[in-house]
């Protein structure tokens, strides 16, 4: 059993799905293998805030039953999936990484959950995150940080560090993330995994606990580009419950990966994200990847996005402004924590006492900053100006995409930093998102996939591709093609080079094999 399990958790979702549909393995076996893996490594990694083994096994058993009865199921039916705790689930607690929602079981499912369940995927737990998705390291989680599977003393990125670490440590082949300023792509970069921020409105946000409503987007997290595409095809599409949801007919992202080819593709290198402030080993792997793309027929050109230097500033006004409004719903009345101040008080006193205890430092910082940016006398100078910068960033992208098919940059300036390195300096933490934020401001899709390990520290480096709005399939095409070229060059996947977190488990498996 142990030998079998050890192999199962290392399969891609696509490979696991084939074994499930051929009947070689059952959904219960697949689920058990991943639950065993979680039991073996999650004490160290802390990717999960909640698992419900019995519930997951029952879900898997029901899939097996339907398959045995001859029902034709979705190709991913029976594949386990981890879910970022920002997404509401009607059968597991949902906290968004905050004490204010500790133990809350939502009375409804997010639309992405409804779609996952309809396709027969098996939710195996809720993943850790910075509180309300505010952060780049998971260190702002009220439940303690997640650790990077490549080096447990380092950050797994954020806010979706739990989802990225879960797939990187083979606790799940797939996960859901959310990306407001890079929270899917930057964790993918530092954990050697794949993450996609779809076009704004391409995936329903109904049931995603909002951070900044004009920036937030749910998307897939996985170890391979094809797996993200398969998951994207499940969760994408119009949802009448989300008024920002696009009514477009979307092409198959999985087909885009399979057909992926860079011959004749025009790729623009974002000049502002290819030099100053970027770690040497990150740039080295990035440029090697560009060479590989060029050798395979892509045309690489330089592109300038002059307004990018204002993008972070605009983001750190717009996001807190929207967050301060969205988080007003945590009022101690309808759900979540209530703290009664000593001696009692009015409902406002109770609300203030509750929010003092229930919110962490970063949530308070951003609520106060957002309240400031929106207050009379400052609105025009800050929030109003930030919205104008947003226009300028969009114009830069429009001009760039008139000349190239996709844009490219390193996903983040550095590899994973040590836990605690930036917690005392909010501004330093915010600068991690310099390459990812512009896509959220403009609503365009982005993908991060691994391009190797940095020479100086042996940690993963990601490359980011951006495409015009609604052209998500283009990202899957170039991402899938580059992944194939790199793996052919290396002779293995990047994630196979990650340290084994449960060597005892491996030894047992090897002994079993003899």
């Amino acid at each position: 059993m142990a030998r079998h399990d050890h192999e199962l958790v290392r399969l891609s979702a696509a490979a696991l799905a084939e074994k499930l549909s051929s009947g070689e393995i059952s959904a219960v076996e697949a689920t058990d293998a991943h639950l065993d893996r979680i039991a073996a490594v999650d004490e160290e990694v802390h990717a999960f805030l909640h698992t419900a083994p019995e519930l997951s096994r029952r879900t898997a058993a029901a899939i097996d039953e339907r398959r045995r009865a001859g029902e034709v199921l979705h190709p991913l039916a029976g594949v386990p999936i981890a879910v970022k705790d920002v997404i509401v689930t009607n059968d597991m607690p949902t906290t968004s990484g905050s004490k204010i929602l500790e133990g809350w079981v939502p009375p409804y499912d997010a639309t992405v959950m409804t779609k996952l369940r309809a396709a027969g995927l098996v939710p195996i737990g809720k993943t850790n995150m910075d509180e309300f998705a505010m952060g780049s390291s998971t260190e702002h989680s009220a439940y303690g940080p997640t650790h990077n599977p490549w080096d447990l003393e380092r950050i797994p990125g954020g806010s979706g560090g739990g989802s990225a670490a879960a797939v990187a440590s083979f606790e799940a082949p797939l996960a859901l993330g959310s990306d407001t300023g890079g929270s899917i792509r930057q964790p993918a970069h530092v954990t050697g995994t794949v993450g996609v921020k779809p076009t704004y409105g391409g995936v329903s946000r109904y049931g995603a606990i909002a951070l900044a409503s004009s920036l937030d987007q749910i998307g897939p997290v996985s170890r391979t580009v094809l797996d993200s595409a398969l998951l994207h095809d499940v969760i994408g599409g119009h949802d009448p419950r989300d008024s920002t949801s696009l009514t477009d007919e979307w092409p198959s992202m999985a087909d885009a990966v399979r057909r992926g080819d860079v011959k004749g593709l025009k790729i623009g290198v974002i000049k502002e994200l290819d030099g100053d402030g970027f770690q040497a080993g990150v740039l080295e792997r990035f440029r090697e990847a560009l060479d590989l793309l060029a050798a395979n027929g892509a045309e690489i050109v330089d592109v300038s996005l002059p307004s990018l230097e204002y993008a972070i500033a605009a983001y750190y006004l717009i996001m807190p402004a929207e967050a301060s409004s969205n988080l007003a719903k945590f009022d101690s009345v309808r759900f979540g924590l209530r703290v009664n101040p000593p001696g009692g008080g009015t409902v406002e006193d109770v609300m203030a006492a509750t929010r003092e205890v229930g919110f962490g430092a970063e949530a308070k910082r951003r609520i106060i900053l957002g309240t400031y940016a929106l207050s009379a006398g400052y609105y025009d100078a800050y929030y109003g100006s930030a919205q104008k910068v947003r226009t300028l960033v969009q114009r830069d992208f429009a001009a760039a995409f008139a000349g190239v098919d996709v844009l490219v940059s390193p996903t983040a300036p550095t590899t994973a930093f040590k836990l605690g390195a930036n917690t005392g300096d909010p501004m330093a933490m915010y600068l991690n998102d310099i390459a990812t934020i512009p896509a959220n401001l403009a609503g365009i899709p982005g993908i991060s996939l691994p391009v190797g390990l940095a020479r100086e520290d042996g940690l993963p480096v990601g490359i980011q591709f951006l495409a015009p709005a609604r052209e998500d399939a283009r990202l899957y095409g170039v991402g899938g093609a580059l992944e194939r070229m790199l793996e052919q060059k290396w002779g293995h996947t990047l994630i196979s080079q990650a340290p084994d977190l449960a060597p005892g488990e491996m030894n047992a498996a090897q002994e079993g094999a003899v």
Binding site: A313, Y316, R334, N340, V347, A386, R390, G443
Partner: protein, 99 residues
């Protein structure tokens, strides 16, 4: 340097309904000052001729038919409430004595 003062942070905290401690007000005052210094540069390029963008992909008039949709039952709506009487959320006094 920005002009953010402790009085201002205390006022913002009151508007945002967060009962900050004096220590939090002190540290937030210096952190916010540093953040605001960094983000104030947006006004350098936000000239009068640039329109504001509030939404990345604008959609107009997203309506649905005016018919009842699927809604939560009273029991479901109250299930996560800190306090309720079976049909309504229960809170402490809305108005203080001086009001």
């Amino acid at each position: 340097m920005s002009e953010i003062t402790q009085e201002q942070v205390a006022h913002l905290a009151n508007l945002a309904r967060i009962a900050l401690t004096p220590e939090e007000i002190e540290s937030l005052t210096s952190e916010l000052g540093s953040i605001v210094d960094n983000v104030a540069k947006v006004s350098e390029v936000a000239t009068a001729d640039v329109p504001a963008t509030s939404h990345p992909i604008p959609l107009q008039n997203v309506y649905r038919d005016d018919v009842p949709g699927a809604t939560l039952t009273t029991e479901q709506a109250l299930a996560g409430a800190p306090d309720h009487d079976g049909s309504r959320f229960r809170v402490t006094a809305i108005l203080g004595e001086e009001q």
